[in-house]
């Protein structure tokens, strides 16, 4: 029920699939299905959610950058819940991406926080976010703004 970070070890199956699809040259993590929720009125912060699939070797997502025309600051954040059920949100230095594994940035878990939005995010709006991985370097992912997951 609680949406949390899910590290799904798809292992061999996924590796076989990606190798078949990309001819084996797959050192770079893939980022797909990136979206952000339409802003509510007065909401000055937003979140980008994305599915990251690891390449042949483990890597770490160390930075994310949205265009400054969208948000003045972009940070990697995690929402966590303590034993009493209080949900806290804070910046994290990096997100581990295991080789061949999938990391979901989704509501209630990891997300890319857009701080000081320049304007409300509108449904249908599109922008790119550059994800920087420690080893693989920059990966640009298109983000779509919509109401729901």
């Amino acid at each position: 029920m609680i949406r949390k970070l899910a590290v799904v070890g798809l292992g061999m199956v996924l590796m076989a699939m990606t190798m078949a699809a990309c001819g084996g040259d797959d050192a770079t993590p893939k980022a797909e299905d990136a979206w952000a929720r339409t802003s509510a009125m007065m909401q000055d912060a937003g979140a980008v959610y994305v599915t990251i699939t690891g390449g042949d070797t483990a890597d770490r997502l160390v930075k994310a950058q949205a265009p400054t025309e969208v948000a003045a600051m972009t940070e990697i954040h995690e929402t966590t819940m303590n034993d009493e059920g209080t949900m806290m949100m804070g910046q994290v230095p990096a997100i581990e991406v295991p080789a061949g594994g999938t990391v979901l940035l989704e509501p209630g878990g990891y997300h890319i926080m857009l701080m000081k939005l320049a304007a409300p995010l509108e449904s249908g709006q599109k922008f790119d976010v550059v994800l920087t991985f420690e080893t693989a370097g920059d990966v640009t992912v298109p983000v779509e703004v919509r109401e729901q997951e």
Partner: protein, 203 residues
């Protein structure tokens, strides 16, 4: 031992009955038993010229309450969008559900801001805020809600809060609460259950 066996048998019997006999599945939310009485509590409603808003649904209706803040990028918009989605799926019955959001961050959420925020999810919903921390806590405690607002080393404001939705009936009893991540379909099912119960009680 014999007592325990008997209890166990009874429990299994009840479970089987519940599984096989009931026409109506239990709620997806967490049942508050005994249901806390909230009707005597109130907060000013910034969406209604700061008139006191009592925690009690209108007759035959359901009141859904949420503690949050507008600078919340992840949890609050997710939950409120799920409420909106559940209400959209309820069709005409959505008119019997009222939403009230209480800000846990009144320093940054003024009345105008809070009203615009919550009403952009659900029209006509209530924006409850007070500048008095004691008044806020006096309301939060019986709900079982908790929150803290602090400032990090880099100056950014950090807010922690319980992220439940609370369902209050027209007698002011807190019947159900829903954890973060409850699917909109489950919210819709429980909202409908409570609305139908409220309608039946009114004959």
């Amino acid at each position: 031992m014999r007592l325990r066996a008997a209890l166990c048998a009874t429990a299994i019997f009840v479970l089987v009955l519940a599984a096989c006999g009931g026409e109506e599945a239990g709620p997806a939310g967490i049942v508050r038993d005994p249901a806390p009485e909230m009707a005597a509590l109130s907060l000013p409603d910034a969406a209604n010229a700061n008139a006191e808003f009592a925690f009690k649904a209108d007759p035959g209706q359901l009141l859904v309450v949420y503690f949050g803040y507008t600078s919340c990028p992840d949890v609050c918009p997710t939950t409120l969008a799920d409420v909106r989605s559940a209400l959209e799926d309820m069709g005409d019955d959505a008119q019997y559900v009222d939403l009230a959001m209480i800000t846990v961050d009144p320093d940054r959420d003024d009345g105008e801001r809070l009203t615009a925020y919550v009403q952009s999810f659900v029209a006509d919903s209530h924006a409850l805020r007070t500048d008095d921390p004691d008044e806020l806590w006096a309301v939060a405690e019986p709900f079982g809600a908790f929150y803290e607002v602090g400032t990090a080393d880099d100056g950014t404001v950090e807010v922690g809060h319980t992220a439940f939705l609370y369902g209050i009936d027209d007698a002011g009893l807190l019947q159900l609460q829903w954890a973060f991540g409850t699917e909109p379909e489950d919210l819709r099912g429980d909202f409908t259950l409570l609305v139908n119960r409220a309608k039946e009680n009114r004959g």
